[in-house]
Symmetry: C2
Subunit: 246 residues, 2 copies
């Protein structure tokens, strides 16, 4: 188990960039990775364009332990993820015999196993399949890149299959407290606490509470439970002090 395992996400699809489809995968994967001790460091969304996909993939895979892609592995002409990944890795891509065999079992009607569907069996050389009985078009893992479907339910099934095979780091722990204060009232003391607790990450998130008053959630994160506690105690003392001062 390494100390820090990092990840990037690459979402592929014109439909996300046009606003037609609202992405639901980033939030899911982000939370999933946090829970298994992998730090998500960056997300990119690009169009169905080979050059854009390859450039983003190369930037992310050289920088992070893992890259998760979603989208572009279906049977139509705009599904170019597998080919783009093969190009990025400089490996050939062809119909994977195991996937073709499964498709032959599954599609038995006349013309059902057509060229479009066979396209979903195209897998870059050396990739490991991500599949199950309920997944039609498989995802795959090649090097540190995990290629998944764009349809949320299928992507989620693929995450469950691939997650146990990943290195995971020391999990980032997190605790939050509702400040019952406006962010601007606590910004000063909070900065001092953040400076005094360098191995923690302290986040401040304003929201409108049920009384329509500006309120703030404070989140302390750390890999070290003692450091997390120390910082959270300092935050709580600060908040208690504000209450007395009022």
């Amino acid at each position: 188990m390494s100390d820090i395992v990092t990840a990037g996400i690459l979402v592929i699809g014109d439909e996300i960039l046009s606003g037609r489809t609202k992405d639901k995968n980033i939030g899911f994967i982000a939370e999933y990775l946090t829970n298994i001790g992998i730090d998500l460091k960056e997300v990119r969304i690009v169009a169905d364009d080979e050059a854009d996909i390859v450039a983003a993939l190369d930037a992310l895979r050289s920088r992070y332990t893992y890259v998760f892609t979603t989208g572009g592995i279906g049977p139509t002409h705009d599904d170019i993820t597998a080919d783009s990944v093969a190009k990025a890795f400089g490996v050939p891509i062809d119909h994977h015999p195991e996937v073709v065999a499964r498709f032959k079992e599954r599609f038995q009607g006349a013309g059902e196993l057509n060229e479009a569907r066979l396209r979903m069996a195209r897998i870059p050389e050396g990739a490991e399949l991500i599949q199950s009985a309920t997944i039609l078009a498989p995802g795959f893992k090649i090097g540190n890149v995990i290629v998944m479907a764009g349809v949320p339910s299928i992507m989620q099934a693929m995450m469950d299959i691939v997650a146990p095979k990943l290195k995971s780091g020391v999990r980032m722990l997190s605790e939050s407290v509702r400040a019952n204060s406006r962010e601007g009232d606590i910004g000063g003391p909070l900065r001092e606490i953040a400076n005094a607790h360098p191995d923690t990450i302290i986040g401040s998130y304003p929201f409108m509470d049920e009384d329509k008053k500006p309120n703030t959630n404070l989140v302390v994160r750390s890999r070290d439970p003692e450091k997390l506690n120390a910082a959270m105690n300092a935050v709580k003392e600060m908040l208690a002090g504000l209450k007395i001062a009022r």
Copy 2:
């Protein structure tokens, strides 16, 4: 009016990458830009880290007509967007007199206009403010970069203020049709139509319909209404042909 106006989005915030907060801004801005004739080409999400913000900002602002950022303009230590933007542009940043004057009117209680709140008045030199009576911390536009809040309601108000000032291109037109077919059944003929109509973008989006059957939405996009019509007619003829063949 130029023919093609492009944009990138940069979402800034640890809370999105940890999965704690689910982004609601990308989808909104994407749809907004499509409606005003601006092509969203790329989105990046990065952490509250100056080097990461500057690198992403430089990559996007050199590549696209506009860059829209969200997040990181509040009063706390983790709000570093304005400073990072100033750094990227190589300009000084200081308290903007107009914003300070407004804050002085607004915050009159003892200690209310503290250092934390004054932080929200820090604006890079040469930037134009994005503000209104209902917006506390202003956004700003510097060069081709538009800096907005992360809180969706405030970001949306800022989009409405800034949008009329932007160049807009020839609007991308879009029409969609429900195929009542599985994606794999139409992938072949659809590719032929896409090849025969090069000035259109044809997207294929599978979904589960109300009868729990795999179905597909087909979307044709083009800036030219005649080319859009020609491609959409070809798609509809293809779908009608499938129906007869059944």
